[in-house]
Symmetry: C2
Subunit: 536 residues, 2 copies
């Protein structure tokens, strides 16, 4: 039964000798490591140097790579020179260049030299820091850095180790949400019994990241008990505490058990901010766990003038933000703080014989495996430590403020051009804008959109509402811009409005890139508006 496929390697028994004899044949030989390592540093430095030459959004077609690579792994070794050549020729064209200064899509994935070097060191040591003993420095540096960062954010002391809370580095916000949700779930189930899992209810808004619905699904929350509070443009898409209370009250009256609220500071579509204080007050009345997801916007709360956006966090149970988004720390690195670490560890602890050790038994150490989903964990705190030390609080604030300033510049361009409008007030470094309805309608004599060139994307104009027409024009604008490769933006739809998101935050972006981006937007908008034939 061993040979199920029809796949066969070329084999030469004479070559099947046992490796590892001579030192420089060892796959971790230090001098060969040095030689190849220097080559790859130069490769990446050159990549950054030339990054503006590439279309930001990859322009390849599905299946492009299969046509270029062999159908099976090589039997014999290939040189690093050959491999790097293939990276340049075959991988780079298929990359969407998140590090490009012309990248304004989604949220940034802001790399930095310090973040990169920290990742290198962690990869070089390659320790598996599941518990304290497996590498004390990995655990202790993480606890220290999380307290540093908590201080920088002016989190309440109750979230810090120094105040009997504590911080942990997760891979992503998705993991942070799932961990805290499971902790909240089990806290309640310990009281009402596991058989009542079907009664548990969780809450968020229609602007909450999709990660929460997925986490609830994974954690076995009944999909019928996932409550979504609607938001509106009039409140800038923030969650309404009164609506939340009404929903909870109805659930409690129906015999259900509210356990968890996810509040967001900086939603994905429009960077809306939920009012933490009032929301936490509601949740408190029902003994619910509140998690604050500040994945994007948390970073800038290290600037005193932005700190007010997380006012009220003292009423929450946990708080997280992604250092890999807008804090110069390479993917992945989500910072999570909790007030009650025991709630996490009661759900996530394991204690097999093969991991028992005296340090754990002494209860004097943190074993982070019990604060996260997985057992194994990388030495992530190194990169965060390098970022904090290489730049310091002052420069980090300066970098973030420079992104906000550039977003303001872009906002100014939008506001000064009457063909465009800003859709929602800008909170951080993301501008939500569109071609305005009036600019579209002005192109028609009777408010009915005529044929737009020969695009297949835009269906019969006669059947469309005004909003549908405006949305299609804006969708066309975005696709036109991204297809050009010059800059990359993404969209969302909120309250029925299709909007373009201009998110500043790529590390290499400077004001000149923003000015040029606006020129690109104007050119494409001009062409699209001009392609609308006036109906007679």
């Amino acid at each position: 039964m061993g040979s199920l496929g029809d796949f066969e390697f070329p084999q030469n028994n004479a070559l099947l000798n046992i490796a590892g004899g001579s030192s420089n044949d060892n796959p971790l030989d230090p001098e060969e490591f040095r030689r190849q390592g220097h080559m790859v540093i130069d490769f990446i430095a050159d990549y950054y140097k030339n990054i503006e030459k590439y279309p930001v959004l990859s322009q390849v077609e599905p299946g492009y790579l299969k046509k270029r690579l062999p159908t099976s792994a090589p039997f014999y070794p290939e040189s690093i020179e050959t491999i790097l050549g293939d990276v340049q020729d075959h991988i780079v064209p298929g990359i969407t260049h998140w590090q490009s200064p012309n990248y304004f899509a989604y949220f940034p994935s802001s790399g930095s030299i310090a973040g990169f070097l920290g990742e290198m060191l962690a990869t070089g040591f390659n320790v598996v820091g599941f518990n304290w003993m497996s590498s004390p420095a990995a655990t202790e540096l993480e606890s220290i850095v999380m307290d540093w960062l908590g201080q920088m954010l002016r989190l309440p002391k109750s979230f810090l180790f120094s105040g009997n809370g504590g911080g942990v580095l997760q891979g992503t916000t998705c993991e942070a949400i799932l961990c805290t949700l499971v902790a909240a779930r089990d806290r309640t189930l310990r009281i009402i019994g596991n058989d009542n899992i079907g009664k548990l209810v969780v809450y968020c808004s229609d602007q909450t990241h999709c990660a929460f619905k997925k986490a609830a699904q994974i954690a076995g929350i009944n999909p019928n008990n996932f409550r979504v509070i609607p938001t509106t443009l009039s409140s800038s898409f923030s969650m309404c505490p009164k609506a939340l209370r009404n929903t909870i009250t109805a659930d409690v009256e129906a015999g259900l058990v509210p356990i968890f609220l996810l509040a967001t500071v900086g939603t994905t579509s429009t960077t809306a901010v939920d009012p933490l204080g009032p929301l936490c007050d509601v949740a408190k009345d029902y003994g619910m766990w509140v998690h604050v997801d500040a994945a994007y916007a948390g970073s800038i709360c290290i600037c005193p003038e932005f700190r007010h956006f997380i006012d009220g966090v003292e009423g929450a149970d946990s708080f997280s933000f992604n250092a890999h988004k807008w804090f110069f720390t390479t993917l992945d690195c989500c910072c999570l703080w909790v007030k009650d670490p025991a709630a996490l560890t009661q759900s996530l602890s394991t204690d097999p014989e093969y991991l028992k050790n005296k340090a754990t038994e002494s209860k004097q150490v943190v074993d982070y495996k019990d604060w996260q989903l997985a057992l194994s964990r990388r030495f992530r705190s190194l990169k965060l430590w390098l970022v904090l030390r290489s730049y310091g609080v002052e420069k980090l604030r300066g970098f973030l403020r420079s992104h906000v300033k550039m977003a303001k510049v872009f906002q100014g361009f939008v506001e000064a051009d009457n063909r465009f409008e800003v859709v929602v007030p800008r909170n951080f470094a993301n501008v939500c804008f569109r071609i305005s309805p009036s600019a579209v309608m002005n192109k028609t004599s009777n408010g009915v959109l005529g044929e737009i060139t020969n695009s297949n994307d835009i269906s019969s104009p006669r059947t469309k509402t005004k909003m549908g027409m405006v949305n299609e024009v804006n969708q066309k604008l975005m696709e036109s811009i991204n297809g050009s490769g010059g800059i990359y933006m993404t969209h969302s739809i909120v309250g029925g409005i299709y909007l373009l998101r201009f998110a500043v935050g790529a590390t290499l972006t400077q004001e000149s890139h923003v000015i040029e981006a606006w020129n690109v937007v104007k050119q494409h908008a001009h062409a699209i508006l001009n392609s609308i034939p006036t109906t007679q």
Copy 2:
């Protein structure tokens, strides 16, 4: 409410200027990246060169690092030279050196030059490859490499993309188990209704990794429905299909619903192998999902002479192994294949407006976010691709065989010394051994152990069973060895037997290290056996 802590940074308003002006002040400036990158490559190369100078198991005390680092982040930047000095002085002493050739603990975390370089490239590009469009190369390379690796393992074609299954890179086995468990859970709940989640039952053996219990807990499986099939020394701690069937039958008769079996190839304690074929036959009778966890041993199944250990995998639904354990790919990198990707994506898909795109709508692409827990994902396939290409199938087999050969050498030493015994047959490159009961008992005149020096760890000998005494002697041996810093091993307890695990697999390990390790074991055993006073 903005200022909750009493923490205050030194501030100088004159210094709060906006950064990002001059190019080389940019935190991703290519030339500064080059300069600092070369420095860190040299730092890591030197670390590998000198790695044998450090005690393998870190000898620091809990809290050591807090005493050495400041209590808050620096306000002003620090140089890379200063930081690297601190890494050397303060971090390295707190590291347990998983890359040391004298590391024989847990399972290996086998780094390699190729794995490191792949990680560098992924970190340098720093793309967030949640769906195809966000970086087509990240998705397509992953699918290609997973098919390559599936072929190397001679997985049934039904696990490969080319056979309508497919592979995905997860961070860890814990994630792979949780994803497949949730898929299996929901497959059943779609039939019997979400209200019946409390009836679902999952199965494993007492040797299954603790990750499974944790995954079941996270997925909301009732803890009362977690079944553990006992194993025994007589069957080398492998799971008994008949015992499994009896347990399932009883559950079904009690109105419960069996959904998932976790079978292991290469258990953590003793590298035991569950009989996949017969176990899958049992599971099939009840429509259960079978996941095969070959976290450690999967790697060596690329060698034809070891492939039989996963015979029967064709009856399973999913299979995973950790390339970051014993496949020269740095942490983290777990390879998971499933026969029915739709089962995964039905549980794990998200489709928010801000991620909608034409490639996804065309259904011609894989969006890996729907195959895993989190949304964001790193470009992990690069490192696996570099490992496969840099070494090729032939050398990879050679490296793995050389580790098995070294383990055989160690086993030979143990067997040739009548003070020791091998506890269970060695399957791969891990030897489970101990000081034999006879060697301990020979030190006593009446089979009762006298005082062992003045150790507090060993309680009153008069109250102990023979097995307890032998276990204590072996525990003392392990602690003595690890405390010396010369080599590092870990232990387990199976069937009441305390055993030492000698796991060969660190990339730098050569036969000379194994010979020297045996000398260390002998010296410490000699001292401990001699410290047992003969009772009169």
